[in-house]
Amino acid sequence: MAEIAARVLVLGGGPGGYVTAIRAAQLGLDVVLVERGGRDGGLGGTCLNVGCIPSKAIIHAADAYARALEHAGDAPFGLRVGAPTMEFARTVEWKDGIVGRLTGGVGALLKRHKVKIVQGNGEMLDGKTCRVETDTGPQTVRAGHVVLATGSMPASLPALPFGGRVMSSTEALSLQEVPGRLVVIGAGYIGLELGTAFAKLGSKVTVIEAEERILPAYDAELSRPVLRRLQALGVEVLTQARASGLSDAGDAVLVAREGAATRSVPADRVLVATGRRARTAGFGLERLDLTMNGGFVAIDERCATSMLDVWAVGDLTGEPMLAHRAMAQGVAVAEQIAGHRRVFDAATIPAVCFTDPEIVTVGQSPDEARATGREIRTAQFPFQANGRALTLGAEEGFVRVTARSDNHLILGIAAVGAGVSELAAAFGLALEMGARLEDIAGTIHAHPTLGEAFHEASLRTLGEALHI
């Protein structure tokens, strides 16, 4: 059996894995990256192949189509378009093109950094050795350091196993046609992002959520504009509802609601988006006997597992399961292996929800800040009072700033509104640099931009808002 020795072995080529590999190689370490490819992976992992990127592509296409339809109806600024149509197969092709370019790009980057890529399913034999089933036979990789980055996969519901009409986000992103009736189970960000997109593309969408409200991870203030928009799009939202299975004919989802009779919601497709779980099986994790943290591999602030020189990054290590967290962890691990003192100590991990309108949060919500027993002040600035938002026809939403009362240190920033995902950079920077309200107030924000709402919200928290 062929055997390769390397300083670093990275198992999994998603954002966590490939970034670890590139950074480690930059620091002069020889690196082997094992990626098995397949339906929901490949270089770039979930994120590039069946997650962030393809979903945003579909969302963008759906948006453009919905807007064209809007303009074909009543034209708020005088634009008239004919009857737009959508050739969805072309949309998916276009999306696949983007994915292809990006995954190819990752491959090129890895090559340029001289990372050795071994294609195939890897299985750890012990804390230093990995056996990879490649097309040309088994291959053993032995390394001083092992970085586990096998990511996550969609969690299924026992009552609604994947198959037939029941699909995960992976299949939803590769549908060849827009389903007539789509039932989305789970009103988290993945379910709502895709549900909204398909609603815009013409599906009759029903969302089923067990919790009291949609986007339970966000506070109600932030999720309310999203709910209003869903309703405007004709999406039926059933909260405090549980999908208990398919009807006998298999063409409807049975929904149990508290205090109501079980309903059956007709469905051509059912998207189960109730969460993701770490990919802990199939790569010999059991042989490493690592300390676990629930269903995730337990790591400390250095991303070290309970085994010396075995590291873990990304979704495998738990929430928040986000690509940028995985990448930042990957950098921290690579630098430590190269001998630097590092920890993963970000002040904040921004989270974006690409619903309509978009939501972005960094740091604490007012409630979370209060729960620490601290006195806080908080204020919102509505986009209704923002010139740029009006010119974009996007007055729904606001920016909210939360700060300490005593020294005005900003604890959290959130926004909901069209295009606010791009404000994540400014928000993140403010929190990471330890900005006070006065710092934001004292920064000249370009006019007219949505970012001015951040400026004004900070001013308002200080009681000095100019435009409201």
């Binding site: 337990a298 602030e301 240190l409 990471e432 006070r436």
Partner: protein
Amino acid sequence: MGLRIVKLPDVGEGVAEAELVEWHVAVGQSVLEDQILAAVMTDKATVEIPSPVAGTVVALGAEVGGVLAVGAELVRLEVAGESSGEVAATPREAAAPAPKAEKPAAPAVPATPAATTRLPSTALPTTGAPIGPPRPAGEKPIASPAVRRRARDAGVDLRQVRGTGPAGRIGHDDLDAFLRGASAAVSSRARVANTAVETVKIVGLRRRIARKMAESKRRVAHFSYVEEVDVTALEELRARLNAANRPDRARLTLIPFLMQALVRAVADFPEMNALYDDEAETLERHAGVHIGIATQTPAGLMVPVVRHCEARGLWDCAAEVLRLAEAAREGKASRDELTGSTITITSLGPLGGIVTTPVVNRPEVAIIGVNRHAVRPVWQEGRFVPRTMMNLSSSFDHRVIDGYVAARFVQRLKALLESPATIFIEEA
């Protein structure tokens, strides 16, 4: 039964991680509250971690030699009662600091002043006190990513650093100031003293020592040789001579005997009492035996030199060693008294250990290290007899001294020390 996770506590000194040097417990063992679980070593000291609760050990967080981050899981305990969770341990300074670097240190003065207690930040007084910590306990320091990274590289715990920016933000300047020791006053009293001494006084010599050591290790092809010596007879002789208790004479330690023996031995091995000029590639053999005695002083390691030992008697050597060591400790040794050795002796005294790896005092080519002596059973003539045994750990410059020659040289020393009378007999 509940599970408790004991995490590696903040062991102070601004360290982010510590090396696990010893487990005091094993899986399956039950421990009492306050029982020592493990010893970890930071750059400066060994710290013992007592158990905050009683329980049974179910898992150990690392192997000896592993590096644990502060806050990482140290031990998992099964405890009485239902509740599970994490408990913080409080570190405890171990009795003896663990000397880490190899160094020819001398008559034992316990190691660096940095090993003095440094309180974990939670034990510090809260703000409002004239000398308080930079921020209330438990509050996260605010600093930009670049500052955090620099601090981490420098091994600085930002919790110790005062931030002068808005809302107490720590800037690059604050970190610079801290690294210069200027903000020592706000960290803790122990740190004040240490840092001040380091900057004002010690750095220069320390740096010199460090450079010299590194230089020696880098340029000299070191090898060490350890031999066991039976010093029973020597100890008896020494005790008898000391028993005379004459106030006009210094008390004898083993060192003056060794010095006398060295004088005899180098007569037969002149290449040992020599200086190697590696630029010119010449070996300078000296007829005069000028013995350097590695001495621990408050400022750091110094090597005062007893000149012309070949012309000195036992008591004379003893007196001169004493005089010079005192002068060095008080910082009064002259330049001349600190230079010009041709061969060096190093001893950690009672701390001497079993084996050391002395660093050759370049440009010399040999250094003799004295380890601790102890009474051990020795197999002699069909039975065990108690003998006072001691090791000599000696290092040589392999570029000019062959292993075979070094071994013979040490054998000669051994023979002299084992029959101390021969040291003093003219024709031995």
